[in-house]
Symmetry: C2
Subunit: 408 residues, 2 copies
């Protein structure tokens, strides 16, 4: 597997662009993006499990169910088009329709995503004007992918992209992706959008399986507690232009593809955690030797989600009691009396807890380790063989500032 | 029912005191309290559901199970005596033993509570010295109750006490209480201790029933998500000195008592929310007309717990999408399309959402309402007849400061 500089235009046959349509305040803020596959692409999608679903999520679920292929994804930031009733649903469909018209395809071949403030209607004149500018601007170069990745940002401080190439049956397959999302305290409320484009030849069914399974171990582990926002969506488009033998079963080619897809998704998921609103640190929480994989996931997520763990991390305070406490209320099975906790970073490694009680470690050394920008916490529960990793960030003064003033 | 100025010494036959034993840094910070009933009292306790249980919780559960009566509760703040292994359990038992010895009672008649940092062992020399000073200082006056209520504080900014009197079968019964706890983002991690003393004559069984049921609607609704910290405990002592006919069934007297107990617990629970770490506002979330009581509780708690709702409240931002989103991911049943949301305070009342979409309300008016120190949010889901209320507070810069530096 080769990691290359790239994004949604890296795979063969994809074009993209992004621009400022005026939905977000501030001319420098791009707020519309378009991804286009030159040929029909099979596709897969996973969506929020929130009972309150944004209009584009409802549209996407319908398209995933009814369509074999699509050719475009149109995205706006600034307004989420959630809790907007029938008018919101009509606006979403119009957005697909306008894009389809400009591209000369059917509206059912256009996926739609929105992210931003909940409850407001889309400014349809700006959206329409934006679409007429997006389509002629489509290009397959690197710069256009960057513009698209910038246009989907909201409180993100930087774009999030990556791409890899792999060999599948002698053919070079490329997978490129971009995402947006700022890991939050309750990140289930922060919209996460991920778009992956690949030229692999694969059936829609196998693509859906690959995406669905990998999302559980990647985006869903970004300090999420199992639920998601009103708009969360991940799409993968696969247009087959790599020319490999069609992947239609769980064969070796499938596993090669899944492994590469996992790399892309993991990279993007960690980027989301690292760029948490106001965050100064990335936290990786490994839970090892749990009885079941599900226990390991629940335990690691609980720690990565804990506001007290997050604030302690911000304060470089090795307050492991908070880690223990989060594991304790997570609901997962584990024995506190056999649990070890270790922290690790570029500045060293230190065991804080052995069999449920303090090792009497040096606080200064712990503080030094926690002062790194990337901190790893390992909880070894020593009961079974299952492990999991969750990603989070610290909780800072800046987080409060961002979210107290989000709409102003 | 009459609300009186008072606390744990208001009911007949109770003494208390509090002092600085040196466990917490700063001479002005009291850190040990003692409550004493002059005659044996039946008692009831409810405890944390966290898998990680502090030593005093384990001790309390044993005593509740095995003993008919107790006479004292000894409390320390500063060190939680949680995750302290066998040594911690021995220290807890020693704390009961020392107190019993000074009071001339059995150690099984002494309940113990600790609150503070997890993972450290109790400084037993200070604890012992503290106990020898506490016992001779016991008094039944108002001042002594206040000293006790101050000694159980950690990050609390003020003491939390109240008392009521009721007539039960022609006799005056008094219920007094104090508690500590700072409502938090994930308040299940902030230790909540509540101590209620009453002179009512009641059986242990009926007292336990009364406490257990009322805790579900009071302390457990302080922006808790069903779980609790390693140390959370609520105790009620009832010594029978009011001389009423013993309450031994769910008769009229029982219901009079339960109603009064509910008043005391509700008052204390709201005090906890209002004094949330760094909080500037109390938030009351009413969910009305849900299908089941459990749905109403889950929905109201989800809103009161939501970090994004809390930060929006801090910013006086009527970002109702976050309220909706929290309800959506709560897991409870409700129909977004029939839900109304209204906010209310001393500065007015305003409907933000009707049947799932914005009413087009005036943002300035909303901001004015949200600028009050006590804000009420009402979500009417219009599907059934069940309702519930949860209490929370805003999430502020100060919260982050407190928790980043908690141990330093």
């Amino acid at each position: 597997m080769k990691i290359i500089e790239g994004g949604v235009t890296s795979a063969k046959g994809y074009q993209a662009t992004g621009l400022h349509a005026g939905i977000r305040k501030g001319k420098s803020k791009k707020d519309m993006a378009l991804i286009y596959s030159e040929v029909p692409a099979v596709f897969a999608g996973t969506f929020t499990r929130n009972k309150v679903k944004a209009a584009p999520v409802k549209w996407g679920k319908k398209i995933v169910k009814e369509q074999q292929t699509v050719q475009a994804i149109v995205v706006n930031s600034g307004v989420a088009n959630a809790c907007t009733g029938e008018e919101g649903m009509n606006n979403c469909e119009k957005m697909a329709e306008m894009t389809a018209k400009e591209l000369g395809i059917k509206k059912e071949e256009v996926l739609v995503c929105s992210t931003g403030v909940i409850g407001n209607q889309l400014p349809m004149e700006l959206i329409e004007a934006g679409i007429t500018l997006l389509v002629p601007a489509l290009k397959s170069d690197r710069e256009s992918a960057i513009m698209a990745s910038e246009a989907i940002m909201t409180t993100d401080t930087h774009k999030k992209e990556c791409a890899v190439t792999i060999e599948v049956g002698g053919k070079t397959v490329t997978i490129g992706g971009m995402c947006k999302g700022s890991g939050m305290i309750h990140p289930n409320m922060g919209t996460m959008l991920a778009f992956i484009t690949t030229d692999v030849a694969i059936t829609k069914e196998m693509l859906q399986k690959a995406l669905y399974e990998d999302v559980q171990d990647t985006y869903n582990m970004v300090s999420v507690d199992g639920d998601t926002s009103t708009n969360d969506t991940a799409y993968v488009l696969a247009n087959g232009l790599a020319g490999n033998v069609l992947i239609d079963t769980e064969n070796e080619d499938y596993h090669i593809f899944v492994k590469a897809l996992h790399e892309v998704n993991t990279y993007l998921a960690k980027q989301i955690a690292q760029d948490g609103e106001g965050a100064t640190k990335l936290l990786e929480v490994f839970v090892e030797n749990a009885v079941t994989k599900e226990d390991a996931k629940v335990l690691s997520k609980a720690v990565a989600c804990s506001s007290l763990t997050k604030t302690a991390l911000y304060g470089k305070d090795a307050n492991w009691g908070r880690i223990f406490c989060a594991m304790g209320y997570s609901g997962a099975e584990f024995n506190p009396d056999t649990t070890d906790i270790t922290i690790k970073s570029e500045f060293g490694q230190l065991q804080l807890v052995k069999n449920g009680i303090s090792t009497g470690y040096d606080e200064e050394e712990a503080t030094k380790i926690l002062s790194a920008e990337h901190v790893i916490c390992i909880a070894d529960v020593k009961e079974g063989k299952a492990s999991a990793v969750a990603w989070g960030c610290d909780l800072t003064h800046e987080y409060v500032s961002i979210n107290a003033d989000y709409r102003s």
